[in-house]
Amino acid sequence: MKFRAKIIDVGCLNHFTRVVNTVSRLTKACVLRLTCDHLYFVLSGRVASGGVSMWCELSQGNFFDEFQLEGVSADANEILLEVAPENLSRALKTAQNAKSVKIKLTKKSSACLTLAAELPSLSSVSRVVTHDIPVDVIPRRLWHDFREPQMPDFDVSIYLPPLKTLKSVVDRMKNLSNSLVLEANLNGEMNLKIDTDLVSVTTHFKDLGNPPWGDDGSQSSSPHRDPELMTEVCVDIRKLQQFLTGQQVHPSRAMCNIVDRRILHLIFLHEDVSLQYFIPALA
């Protein structure tokens, strides 16, 4: 098993750092899956995390100048590591003006991801800062837990309103209630609702647009579905807020898929990064 990669471009380094920062705000521990073409930060839904799962996919070529991987075996040419993204975030934080950043899988007293940054210095010799981030190698028999999640059979898919607006609405609603109902229809309409003993608040969004999924431009759900019909899901508002607050990468497309009363599936797409987040409905 061997892994080495190098980033030289400052823009790529900053972008990669922002992605790692976003992931670190979503979870304390996750799995980093490395293949020849991609990196994935994966959190598989467990009761401990409240059932949320995350799939963040990066196309390696858009970030790294050098990328070499030798997986567990020839037919399983991948490496899966359990890592605390916060450590990675911390290591990258002070390397933002580095001339180069190298990441390597190494063995110190245990398996580590070693990050070395060459920093500008006052002399002809660069400063080198090295961080050894402890990781756990995930054995192959557990890999099935970390496969790409299947697109759930959703009822409605809709683009999200501007994230800043959405976030401020959710922030305020969080003060009033622990749960929030998100409903949307195929007419580009979305409502956010909270309902407590003391107060009910609904925020309405219109003309959001519905992403075309099927070949004929319609969504994969029943073609005879009434476009006005709302589908809804009730989620823990803190999980939604945590997701929205953590974002450091501004997506070029943000949408969500709703499985009626079951799952809220959020999808943020950027040129070279995609982030999917699944929030289960509250029981």
Binding site: M1, K2, R4, V72, S73, A76, N87, R90, A91, T94, K102, K104, L105, T106, K107, K108, S109, S110, A111, T114, A116, E118, S121, L122, S123, S124, V125, R127, V128, V129, T130, H131, D132, I133, P134, D136, V137, I138, P139, R140, R141, L142
Partner: protein, 392 residues
């Protein structure tokens, strides 16, 4: 013209009367703030060669002293018989100088005085628009506080601009307690130090390597590695950064204290920290420093992967593939060397550090004025001082 307040030009009753003006008020405030990072009490001693402000931590493994010369003050009056030493809670002094940022805009003058009739130390801030803020602080008489150290005899001396030190420390988390400093003939390494007993395989290890060229002065007698508490230093770093003064570092072998100083024509600050004795190289790092060769090849620069390839098993492992942990490190022999006062058992991070030697050897008259020489002050002075001179 009659004034409401009498100006006491010569006040025989004043034990101490010091006035700092202008920018020096802020410097004074920053010095006190730095000292607060070390200990809970501020020791104050007005001496003939200046006002000494000192602090020590509870386990006596960190000591700091600011000596402000008479030239630092617009007016400086101290008892010529060096008879007055006091201590007070540092928080109460900090309260006088709160809101540092607005100090230089609002405060024109700061007067510290002690009248023999009063049992309070009076600090008066003369502010703009005729505003006078008077603070009366209670204090305790005490013995002198002076750690024994001798910068001149240290084998290794480094000097750097504060910016270098601050940038270096940035790579380590603010909560980091202990740091290891290693030097070779042309390199300096700074690493976070992880305790034996903690789960060292789970801690993130950070190492920063600097070239000797980045230092203003680099004199390394022998390759050394010392471990000391970083937290207590941050006060000095902040002071040096704001003053722009270079920081000098004096150290010897592990176990001997490391001294960091900042000096200019009117003040001298010394931070003395105990170091772990008989420090062994942390096993968590593959040793990037090999004392017998000249320049250890940097792992990444040479890109030599072989020694760092992870030797991993295949999927047939029964459990999560944990690499077997390395054999336990030989326990360091942490003897408490030359300690007059045993380290107090408080504060786990500090108890293993040697307690600094707080001397009780009688000072010779020639040594007294110059603090930077090996000064050994009496902890409990005689009631009759043979060298008493006339007060003017």
């Amino acid at each position: 013209m009659q004034t409401l307040f009498r100006n006491n030009i010569v006040d025989k009753q004043n034990i101490m009367d010091c006035v700092a003006t202008g920018g020096n008020v802020k410097v004074l405030a920053k010095a006190i703030h730095s000292l607060s990072r070390i200990g809970e009490e501020l020791y104050m001693e007005p001496m003939e060669d200046g006002l000494a402000l000192r602090s020590v931590n509870s386990s006596r493994s960190a000591f700091a002293c600011f000596l402000l010369s008479p030239l630092f003050f617009q007016r400086y009056q101290a008892p010529s018989d060096q008879s007055f030493r006091c201590k007070m809670p540092i928080k109460s002094v900090q309260a006088v100088f709160k809101s540092l940022t607005s100090l230089d805009r609002s405060v024109e003058k700061c007067r510290i005085q002690l009248n023999s009739e009063k049992s309070r130390l009076t600090i008066t801030l003369h502010c703009k628009h005729g505003l006078l803020k008077t603070h009366n602080l209670s204090y305790q008489d005490c013995e002198g506080l002076q750690a024994v150290f001798d910068k001149e005899s240290c084998a290794n001396v480094l000097q750097a601009q504060p910016r270098l030190m601050v940038d270096t420390v940035l790579h380590f988390p603010p909560s980091l307690e202990e740091v290891n400093l290693s030097v070779s003939s042309d390199r300096v390494w700074l690493r976070n130090h992880v305790e034996d007993d903690t789960d060292s395989s789970r801690a993130m290890m950070t190492e920063l390597c600097l070239s000797s060229e980045e230092f203003d002065h680099f004199a390394v007698g022998s390759q050394t590695s010392i471990t000391f508490c970083l937290k207590e230093l941050r006060g000095l770093l902040a002071f040096a950064e704001s003053s722009g003064l270079p920081i000098s570092m004096y150290f010897d072998e592990p176990g001997s204290p490391v001294i960091l100083s900042v000096t200019d024509s009117v003040l001298e600050a010394n931070f003395v920290l105990a170091t772990l004795s008989e420090d062994s190289h942390p096993k968590n790092h593959v040793n990037t420093k090999r004392p017998d060769t000249e320049q250890p090849p940097d792992d990444f620069m040479s890109d030599d992967m072989d020694s760092f390839l992870i030797a991993m098993e295949t999927s047939e492992l029964p459990g999560p593939s944990h690499v077997p942990t390395s054999p336990p490190r030989p326990t360091s022999n942490r003897k408490h060397s030359f300690s007059e006062e045993e380290a107090l058992a408080e504060g786990p991070p500090n108890k293993k550090f040697c307690s600094l030697f707080f001397g009780s050897v009688l000072p010779t008259p020639s040594q007294l004025p110059n603090q930077t020489m090996q000064s050994q002050e009496v902890l409990a002075s005689d009631s009759e001082d043979e060298n008493q001179t006339e007060t003017s």
